[in-house]
């Protein structure tokens, strides 16, 4: 099974060629890390996987992206359904300015789940999966923005889990958090990969080494090297990869 497969993906912002001929396959129930210096295209590629770039007017794409065997830029694809299946967690925790409960229930509401009991159960389950339930079970009606940054980010993960995705994209999910909250998020990622395919963009190379099974190194819009994380970090075959992970640039 190949949940995510990109074939010769090229992305342009206007005349700016930001992704050059990217082809890679991501395995299911694994964590794949995208690393590389700022502006290398890793976030752009991540957002190509759930079509979040569609809102950028100058965005153009060539090549194909398959998720569960379906071309996600195909004419028949409903982008709302794609994004339900391919959830996303953002760099800065961005809970809705509503209650904790409403945050998790939002996805259920927009996808048409109306049965209250079912919604309650799904909210509880999602919060448990995101390791947040014990901290918020008595304050579900409180505003989500009153939570700490780390809790907010786990709430965002719970919110994503609630609509039962198969893939979760994470765009530097811990870069705005303190070390303790970061550790919790990493632990969570480790647990979630049993059920989900996780793709994470990170600037933190130790983080990539800790959480991921496979690592892709991007540089100047190109996919330089893609291999098992242990290989990338101990025995990279490309000089640029080695220079980057040893901190010689970037």
């Amino acid at each position: 099974m190949k949940p995510i497969e990109a074939k010769n993906v090229n992305v342009f912002y206007g005349d700016n060629h930001v992704l050059k001929d990217i082809s890679l396959t991501i395995k299911e129930n694994s964590v794949t890390a995208f690393i590389g210096p700022s502006g290398c295209g890793k976030s752009t590629f991540l957002r190509t996987l759930n079509r979040m770039n569609d809102y950028i007017e100058s965005f153009r794409k060539k090549g194909k992206v398959f998720i569960d065997g379906e071309e996600i830029y195909g004419k028949k694809v409903r982008v709302e359904e794609l994004r339900r299946k391919v959830g996303m967690v953002f760099q800065k925790p961005n809970p809705f300015p509503k209650s904790i409960f409403e945050n998790v229930a939002y996805g259920l509401k927009i996808h048409g789940m109306t049965d209250k009991k079912e919604v309650n159960e799904r909210v509880e389950k999602s919060l448990k999966q995101a390791a947040l339930w014990s901290e918020v079970k008595d304050i579900l009606v409180k505003p989500a923005l009153s939570l700490s940054g780390g809790q907010q980010q786990r709430l965002c993960i719970a919110r994503t889990l609630a609509v039962k995705p198969t893939v979760i994209l994470m765009d530097e999910p811990a870069s705005a958090l303190d070390p303790l909250s970061t550790a919790k998020i990493e632990e969570l990622i480790h647990e979630l990969k049993e059920k989900y395919t996780i793709v994470i963009v990170t600037h933190n190379m130790q983080q990539a080494a800790r959480v991921s099974d496979r690592t892709a190194f991007f540089y100047l819009g190109e996919l330089i090297e893609y291999d098992k994380t242990s290989v990338i970090f101990t025995n990279p075959s490309n000089k640029q990869t080695e220079n980057y992970i040893t901190g010689r640039f970037g």
Partner: protein, 285 residues
């Protein structure tokens, strides 16, 4: 060293010039308010609010005027609010950013500055004559709705623009459609700003006189309007009528009516300020 002294001197001079400029504005306003209050406050009583207009100043009241103002306000709101909000949402969230959009944007900003009497002429031609509404509440409300539409559109757009993009992304990322995102997330987050704009727009409509005179609102309406096709008057027109009379007693009436009108606009502006503050507090991303 002496240059520091000069600089400081300039600094303190400017401070006092600034204080003087501010005071001029405040003092003029205070004198005006004090004058009006002294003259009119004693005239305000229950009878003044509930009496029909009369040729005798001491018996004349503002019942038709303030009910007319209330009618106009309500009708204008019903017409202008949905139109303004929808147009604002379209322009900000749906419209693509091309040359045409820029042109429309520029025009709306310009429309907000068109003298109100021009709207009156427009209303006279379209609503009074073409649609045959006559000099009715409905014609007046449509005219004022046109007048405040640009203000509501601009306020809506500004409020939507202030909603951070991360909120849109969060919603789209969950698989929400554009409309779901707008309805469940963006509009609630922007509601304070939108409401503020609406109230400021309506408080402008309350004070308008010229366009209503043009479409044929009357100064003397001896009955309280009970449907939108009735003829009407409003507070500013009543005031205008009274101050143009020679008798001293009518000037007192005018002062009293001005106090009522000011009170209405102050209350509306107060609500707007309150909402804006609450909104800004609520949105702390």
């Amino acid at each position: 060293m002496s240059s520091i002294r000069t600089n400081r001197l300039i600094d303190s001079i400017f401070k006092y010039v600034g204080i003087a400029c501010t005071l001029i504005g405040i003092i003029v306003l205070a004198i005006f308010l004090g004058d009006i209050l002294l003259e009119g406050i004693e005239r305000i009583d229950w009878d003044f609010l509930t009496n029909l207009p009369s040729r005798r100043a001491e018996k004349a009241g503002i019942l038709t005027a303030w009910t007319g103002t209330a009618w106009i306000l309500a009708l204008t709101a019903i017409i202008a609010i949905p139109l303004g909000i929808c147009a604002g949402i379209y322009l900000q969230e749906y419209g693509t950013k091309n040359r045409l959009a820029y042109l429309i944007e520029l025009n709306i900003a310009n429309l907000a500055g068109v003298p109100s009497i021009i709207y009156g002429l427009l209303g006279l031609q379209i609503f009074v004559r073409t649609f045959q509404f006559g000099g009715s509440l409905l014609a007046g409300a449509f005219t004022l709705a046109l007048l405040i539409l640009p203000i509501i559109i601009v306020a809506t757009r500004e409020a939507l623009k202030a909603v951070p993009n991360s909120l849109r992304e969060a919603s789209y990322g969950m698989g929400a459609t554009k409309w779901q995102t707008i309805w469940y997330q963006i509009l609630p987050a922007a509601s304070g700003g939108v409401l503020t704009g609406i109230i400021l727009a309506l408080s402008r409509a309350v004070g308008e006189t010229a366009p209503l005179i043009v479409i044929g609102a009357l100064a003397y309406v001896p009955f309280v309007a009970d449907n939108p096709m009735d003829e009407f008057t409003v507070l500013p027109i009543q005031i205008f009528n009274w101050v143009s009379r020679p008798q001293e007693a009518f000037l007192v009436n005018a002062a009293a009516a001005i106090i009522i009108l000011l009170a209405i606009t102050f209350v509306m502006n107060g609500i707007a300020v309150y909402l804006r503050n609450r909104w800004q507090k609520k949105i702390s991303w």
